[in-house]
Symmetry: C2
Subunit: 746 residues, 2 copies
């Protein structure tokens, strides 16, 4: 069997296979994705979303004359926000609303508008949307609720149809509006209470509440916002569309998403990966837990998705996944308008020993290292209480000491990011110290930095001209820098390629699967599953099917003792639990007894049989497999195997396509990695063979989405390669794959 | 062998052994600890710390006439804080300071003072302390730095000697002062910038910076503080002393500690356990990580402690361990002045679906369940967008809807704690809704509650007369309630007893250990180690020592095939890595080959030998053992065994004494618990025998602290009980155990 061989050494550059089957299929992901997104979607998205996020004129329908209600609030917000374009309230009776001339209908507007905001009661939304479309509106934000989220999916589909008929883009329904703080736009078309300050973060939130919480926190912490879209029910405009738009948007320095569902996760993977290669993409996925998913289902009518798939999706696409909204915003604060850390080395300088301890503990949790700052820096820190890293200047440190120490640490060459910690007491020169920290960090614009200010009731939110974010606690500052460093590392890591794999009989496997599916969906016999795997040159431990004690003993002799005797019965999913497997049989007598017992268990069932296998030398037991998700496509799994697989939960999943780099990162990310590398004398695993296995499973899953589940467990190291000892496969017909374009691109 | 037998069924009440050896040794921990602390220490602590935290008069030395500097700041703080007693600045020249009459020396004060605050330069501190003591001062707070933390331990010892000579208690040196907000005291003797509001939380911080960060955050979030002690170098007054004081202090509703070291962890365990049985004790331990410990060492001269031991200490003592300061303060906010949750069922009511999703996800992480609220509550929630839990009232919910829904959820009988989530938009009745939430929760004083207010730039910190804490994010509110529920569960769980164990030959084991230690500290042979374990009736797999191939084969026949042949060489710590163990030998031929190979490896070494053992049936491999920590005493370990022990890191540690309840909780807390209960047909572990083993290891560790390390791995289930297959023991002489009282109490 040909292998990826030496080329796959984990530290070596990933091989780029030369185009054999299909140029796109075999190309390097790094170069492909950006181009793909560029050519196919970016231009179109930019064109179609411009009227939404960069409108020249806005009409609003549903603002009351009393000034109360959602529509009036949004109109007031647009007017008070000093919208750069023209705003036209549409109202059947009013002459002016919020001090602006109103018009009785769309037909009477002085010009066709880019964007219309609709806040009329649900039964009237469709009519208004139709009128707006007829009058040439290019985009609509439908604030009104009462569509798919309350069960009226038909009414929502009707809105989409109207929008399509008029070539309009649609945000919502059931949303809180859109915001763009760009100086040339100044659009505050939302009814969130706080208008955010201008800045570099663009956000999209599927939930209104989470969105306004994010906006309020951004305001409190001085985090500027570029644009903000409340997605609501995502009838048309989705996170994918906005990602594609923000890819090229120069005002957007980082993207943050709150999502509860994915309409098209495969497209998301492709676009997010391209965006994340260029600017940070942060996300909180609501509904990680079962109760959370239930809660989500009831409020946005979104389909539940497996958290495992979401984890794989985000990890492969370089999305910075945050557990909480606060983590997301903290991380955004250190990413927007700052350079990325070049590594994981952190410097901490402060006047507070205890805060240094907490920072060091947090660094350890975040995977950041606190290295010695070197002799030269230590020399400059002679007056410090401790010149080690964290540097402790002592409670009485004056502004000059802070300036000197920050410069010494920052220029030491031993740090990739810097945290300045100031604990203010009654004797501190608060103003002077804050200014000194700001100035010192301004002098090192290339170094990512955060500040921690403790002891002030009303601390500043940023320091210095470069706007270094200020945190209340060292732990949150360090954790945010840790996530920034992880993201930076992902950005420089090759995504790898989809290697050319020899020895694959795709047509043969397809024919087999089609034939098996003629009998319906279901679990397959080990023999049939093995035949499919053989088409992809996946190594299995030999198994001889036997029909009598004599045949069993003969098979055992041929294979060599010790052997295992077990049932090949697709319905017995967990064999060890059912008494139908006998391991470590050392002579003919034991084999006969075992055969009799297993045969008795499977008797009377035509699809079941008894097989004899050699026992492999003790070694680490791994597991590998495939699971198909109708929305996300198939996932490939690698993990620790044996009976403990589920309990130890040491597993890694990847979505398709599984590149060579993905496969290596899978086994490298296992907690049990030391076992693979030969631990306490156990046989080291041939990791090249393991990588090859995972890439082949990925290819198998691409070619045959009908493989609903494949479980190879245990997978054991043998002298040359790895072998799957036991296998279970379930086939299920699939409908049209949700995203044929994405499949073609893979 | 006699066993704890059926009495140890995990859900049954823990047996209280009748006093045999020693009443204290065998008593139930629940009843003992509080009594012990009460009788022996509480009264004395209360007496000796009263002058510190509840002084009638305070002198201060070191306040400058310019009003600048630490001393002057503290004097100003005392005066501005409206101290209820008399304050006397001591200054050689000034007539008044901060508007208060000053005195040239202690001798001239109008009355002897309770407390003296010393802020003079380090070289003068000892003299001032001596004078204060001579003048009858009962307590001193030494703010001045420059003692043990900068290497001058001798000067610090001198301060302690002076204090002892004059029966004074001492806080510091190197600290920021003390605060007591009680109305009858009003002592603000610190130079933190913010004076906290009165409240129920008492805090002690070993770090000044962490202390002032905590005070500032408390002020920002409306968390009231009862008393606050900056511990500094802990030369005399320690966290233990304050815990004992706060045990009886009616103004202290909860205790929070920031610690970087333990002077006497065994005493801490005893006192903290007693306090935590009565009121919540929260702690952040700085220096969890190696870099954190290094940082701590350099700023408080504290000895490094193992994080494993600290985890065990906190878990057994019921201390709520928090990772970050923010977590600690969040948790304190839901614990102070609120009832404890009676269970882990959470109700979430809000007008924001997305926030409900985040709350549900956070609940899942925190181990809180969101149950259906029942038919009656659902009926009252008919207008809600979702009447399931989380209840989603829809963005437009009015104050009446909030009131009705909170009452419906709170009285449903399906929740042990309630979170109200309000997302404010431009159309919200903000004042009305906040008032409605406060009123509704006020009407349910028995139900622990938290509120989340999103979308306001300047949200309130508390709601209602009962002061329900307001959080910015649902995740932090839910996580805090989760920790409260965990604490409440610990408080009602029996601590268990130290059971009477039959079959222990304490004297025999002691004699053996003393004899072995005559040859010095070190690893012992398996035979010697087995002899010690036999004195505690700990079951080992038989091992026959053999000296020839013939003896090996005879032993194998006697034990029954398959067998293992291995070296008994105390220097070979990890046998599987060295080729000196051969497993699963099935005949005499294999045994001869194995013997020859192992014998060759150990030849020429008198302390080494070759042993033959039977192979046990495949089953879960566990591990157990003892490790001695000079400061914390010995810890008993239970975990998943085999070669994966260290990698999977599925281990539980407990400090002495190991009660029956501790032993049960050890194996119940393992991730691999399902393996113990018989997973996929593997032999279930006799958990009574496992409990018995762990309790016996605890007793062995109590009796023989010279057991520096004991490693039983694997420990495997057999038909009746569990057996240790392999064992390693290291003995080391110990000095006087640090806390003889604590040892006696065990």
């Amino acid at each position: 069997m040909l292998r990826l061989a030496r080329r796959l050494a984990p530290d070596a550059p990933m091989p780029y296979a030369d185009g054999v089957v299909d140029v796109v299929l075999t190309a390097d992901l790094d170069s492909t994705f950006a181009d793909e997104v560029a050519e196919r979607e970016r231009a179109a998205e930019r064109m179609s979303l411009r009227p939404l996020l960069d409108p020249v004129s806005v009409a609003i329908v549903g603002a009351s004359r009393t000034g109360r209600g959602v529509g009036a609030e949004i109109l007031a917000s647009i007017v008070e926000g000093d919208f750069a374009g023209a705003v036209y309230p549409v109202h059947p009776e009013a002459d002016t609303l919020a001090g602006v001339e109103a018009y009785p209908s769309f037909a009477q507007l002085p010009q066709p508008v880019d964007l219309v905001v609709i806040a009329v009661p649900a039964p009237h939304v469709a009519d208004v949307l139709r009128e707006a479309g007829a009058a040439g509106a290019l985009a609509a934000v439908i604030v009104t609720a009462g569509f798919a989220e309350t069960g009226d999916a038909a009414a929502q589909r009707e809105l989409v149809r109207i929008a399509r008929d008029h070539d309009m883009r649609l945000v919502g329904p059931n949303c809180l509006g859109v915001v763009n703080t760009a100086r040339s736009v100044r659009l505050q078309a939302s009814f969130a209470l706080d208008a955010p300050e201008p800045g570099g973060l663009s956000l999209a939130s599927q939930s209104g509440a989470v969105g306004i919480a994010a906006l309020a926190h951004a305001t409190r912490t001085g985090l500027g916002v570029h644009s903000f879209v409340f997605l609501g029910n995502k009838a048309d405009v989705s996170g994918n569309d906005l990602l594609a738009y923000w890819y090229d948007d120069p005002g957007t320095k980082a993207v943050a998403l709150y999502l509860e569902s994915f309409g098209n996760p495969r497209k998301f993977a492709r676009i997010a990966r391209a965006v994340a290669r260029r600017k940070p993409v942060l996300a909180v996925k609501g509904g990680r837990s079962e109760p959370g998913r239930r809660a989500g289902l009831s409020h946005t009518a979104a389909a539940a998705t497996s958290d495992t798939a979401v984890d794989a999706l985000f990890a492969q696409a370089g999305v910075i996944r945050c557990d909480t909204l606060e983590q997301l915003l903290d991380t955004a604060r250190v990413l927007v308008d700052q350079p990325l850390p070049h590594g994981h080395r952190l410097g901490v300088v402060g006047n507070a020993g205890g805060a240094g301890v907490l920072a060091a503990d947090a660094a350890s949790r975040a995977g950041l290292a606190l290295l010695d700052l070197g002799e030269r820096a230590r020399g400059r820190l002679a007056c410090a209480a401790s010149a080690a890293n964290p540097v402790d200047l002592g409670a009485a440190a004056d502004p000059g000491a802070f300036a000197e120490a920050l410069d010494a640490a920052g220029t030491s060459g031993a740090v990739d990011a810097l945290v300045a910690v100031f604990a203010a007491t009654g004797t501190s020169d608060v103003e002077g110290t804050l200014a000194a920290i700001g100035d010192a960090l301004d002098a090192m614009p290339g170094l990512p930095a955060a500040a921690v200010v403790m002891g002030l009731a009303d601390p500043p939110t940023v320091l210095g001209a470069r706007q270094v974010p200020v945190f209340a606690f060292p732990e949150s500052a360090v954790a945010a820098l840790g996530r920034a460093a992880d993201y930076a590392a992902w950005r420089t890591r090759p995504l790898g390629a989809r290697p050319d794999l020899p020895g694959i009989d795709r047509a043969g496997a397809r024919a087999l699967v089609d034939r098996l599916l003629e009998h319906g969906d279901g679990w397959q016999t080990a023999a049939d599953a093995a035949a499919i795997l053989a088409c992809y040159d996946i190594q299995l431990t030999p198994a001889i099917r036997v029909a009598s004690k004599g045949e069993a003993v003969a098979a055992a002799r041929a294979l060599g003792y010790p052997v295992a005797v077990k049932a090949d019965d697709p319905r017995l999913i967990h064999k060890t639990g059912t008494g139908t497997i006998h391991l470590g049989l050392t002579d003919a007598h034991e084999v006969r007894i075992a055969y009799a017992e297993v045969a008795a268990r499977v008797s009377g069932d035509e699809s079941a049989a008894v097989v004899v296998q050699p026992m492999l030398d003790a070694g680490v037991e791994l597991a590998a497999g495939i699971v198909h998700d109708p929305l996300f496509g198939s996932l490939v799994m690698a993990g620790l195997g044996g009976t403990a697989t589920d309990i130890m939960d040491d597993k890694q999943f990847r979505l398709l396509p599984v590149t060579d780099a993905d496969a290596v990162s899978m086994w490298r990310s296992l907690r049990s990695l030391p076992l693979l590398e030969g631990y306490r004398g156990s046989r080291p695993v041939d990791t090249e063979a393991l990588t090859d296995l995972l890439v082949r499973l990925g290819r198998l899953a691409e070619d045959l989405p009908e493989i609903a589940e494949l479980d190879l467990n245990p997978v054991m190291p043998v002298r040359y390669g790895v072998q799957a000892v036991d296998l279970k496969m379930r086939l299920a017909r699939v409908g049209d794959e949700p995203d044929p374009v994405a499949r073609r691109l893979r």
